[in-house]
């Protein structure tokens, strides 16, 4: 922490994006800042709301050279940004050198999310860390893999020394920590999945805190923490499906669902599953799949299914119906389902059923991890 350990004396903070870099579309900047704030909100009781005018606790701006704070920027390279410790006025503010080439990935230019997450760490009261693995290490790491990005324990310890742990986190006091689930092995013959869906031509297999990302062009799937892609999503999700026409994946857990588009969690979520038209008795969705031809989404709950009209955005009348009657051969509880090559693939425990929706019959029985080429 900074000398004197300055910190915010409140847990709800405001931020304002005062201006934008011309290097990126505005929504990319907005999204990078939101994601950077979520990094810290995930592990603390802190919450953030955006202001569009007036003085926010954290004022975020892009500037070049001398910009009114007696700490001029230095042109391209070297100093990327700076930020001030918590307090009134300029304190808490974050400034980004607009002579840098800001980017939303790490291949070319400087990744705005990574720098913003670091600077906002200062805005919240963290000083530089000498731990080279930490986000608060002062030197920019251009090789950081955004897919696997997460705070180091050093960062978490630092911020929690100021604000305490997230009320819902395993580190919260007086709440017994559940045992950390073991990392699942993709070739375990007993492997089951929480949910499976497509995303922009790839297949995502969710399990506990992780997911495998299988491209049909490669044999080896990538394996990632859900939080490294979407920090606001929960672990151990119930169901997921893609609506390709909206380039959106919907993620379900309990009575809530989230929407994501690529790396970005969409604003306005989570929402209640009951806004989709489920009765109050439905407390979770087991699996879901969207038929892109018919523009219908099927929701599987225990031994029944509902059908949602994507065009009308409403649940169709006459449902629920028995799964086994309309999907003959699918008579076990459904853990997950997704569509590929015109077939529906239903997962139940370590088994997978290939179902032909036109012939209305199961055409193959497979192991759940058949997509991993074990």
């Amino acid at each position: 922490t900074f000398p004197g350990t300055p910190k915010w004396q409140k847990n709800h903070l405001t931020y304002r994006i005062v201006n934008y870099t011309p290097d990126l579309p505005r929504q990319v900047v907005d999204s990078a800042i939101e994601k950077a704030l979520r990094v810290w909100a995930e592990v603390t009781p802190l919450t953030f709301s955006r202001m569009y005018e007036g003085e926010a606790d954290i004022m975020i701006s892009f500037a070049v050279r001398e910009h009114g704070d007696f700490s001029p920027f230095d042109g391209p390279g070297m100093v990327l940004a700076h930020a001030y410790a918590p307090g009134p006025g300029i304190n808490g503010d974050a400034h980004f050198d607009d002579d840098e080439r800001w980017a939303d990935d790490t291949r070319v230019g400087t990744n705005l999310f990574l720098v913003a997450a670091h600077e906002l760490g200062h805005s919240l009261g963290l000083f530089h860390s000498a731990n080279s693995e930490a986000l608060m290490f002062p030197v920019y790491k251009s090789f950081t893999d955004l897919a696997t990005f997460r705070l180091s324990q050093d960062d978490v310890n630092g911020i929690q020394s100021l604000y305490g742990p997230s009320l819902s986190s395993p580190e919260a006091p007086r709440v017994p920590s559940p045992p950390e689930p073991a990392t699942p092995a993709k070739c375990d013959p007993a492997l089951s999945f929480d949910a499976v869906c497509t995303l922009r031509g790839e297949i995502l297999f969710f399990k506990d805190r992780h997911f495998w990302r299988q491209s049909l062009r490669t044999t080896e799937p990538g394996f990632y923490l859900i939080s490294s892609f979407w920090p606001s999503l929960p672990s151990s999700i119930d169901a997921a499906y893609e609506v390709a026409s909206r380039d959106t994946v919907f993620i379900f857990k309990g009575r809530q669902f989230w929407a994501i588009r690529g790396h970005e969690a969409q604003a306005g979520y989570p929402r209640s599953i009951h806004t989709l038209g489920f009765p109050a008795t439905v407390e979770k969705i087991d699996a879901a799949i969207s038929d892109k031809e018919k523009k219908k989404t099927y929701f599987f709950v225990e031994d029944k299914y509902w059908r949602f009209d994507e065009k009308r955005q409403s649940m169709e009348p006459g449902f629920p119906k028995k799964i086994a009657e309309h999907f003959p051969g699918v008579d076990s509880k459904v853990d997950a389902v997704f569509e590929q090559f015109g077939f529906y693939y239903f997962f139940s425990g370590s088994s997978q059923l290939e179902f032909d929706p036109n012939a209305k019959k199961v055409t193959h029985i497979l192991k759940s991890n058949s997509w991993f080429h074990c």
Partner: protein, 84 residues
């Protein structure tokens, strides 16, 4: 320049080192102190402090790893020392 001072080709690097130590490690802003006596104990101490903080081998000398690290983009907030 003194005999053990930097050559003209080294001046740019020396400026970088000096500014780096001034900006991030609270080296007193006294150009003469550094340019003329880069082996002086306050400067060596600051270089060592920087090397330790950045996880480099602590030699007190401006080796290639140290120079490379100092040339990388970074946050403008000081690593140590006093600031407002």
């Amino acid at each position: 320049y003194p005999l053990d001072g930097p050559s003209r080709g080294e001046e740019g690097s020396m400026d970088l080192v000096q500014h780096y130590l001034e900006n991030y490690y609270n080296l007193e802003k006294d150009a003469k102190q550094f340019i003329k006596r880069k082996d002086s104990s306050p400067v060596v101490k600051k270089i060592q402090e920087m090397q330790k903080f950045l996880g480099l081998e602590v030699t007190g000398k401006l080796d290639s790893d140290t120079m490379r690290m100092m040339g990388r983009p970074r946050c403008g907030v000081p690593d140590v020392g006093h600031f407002t």
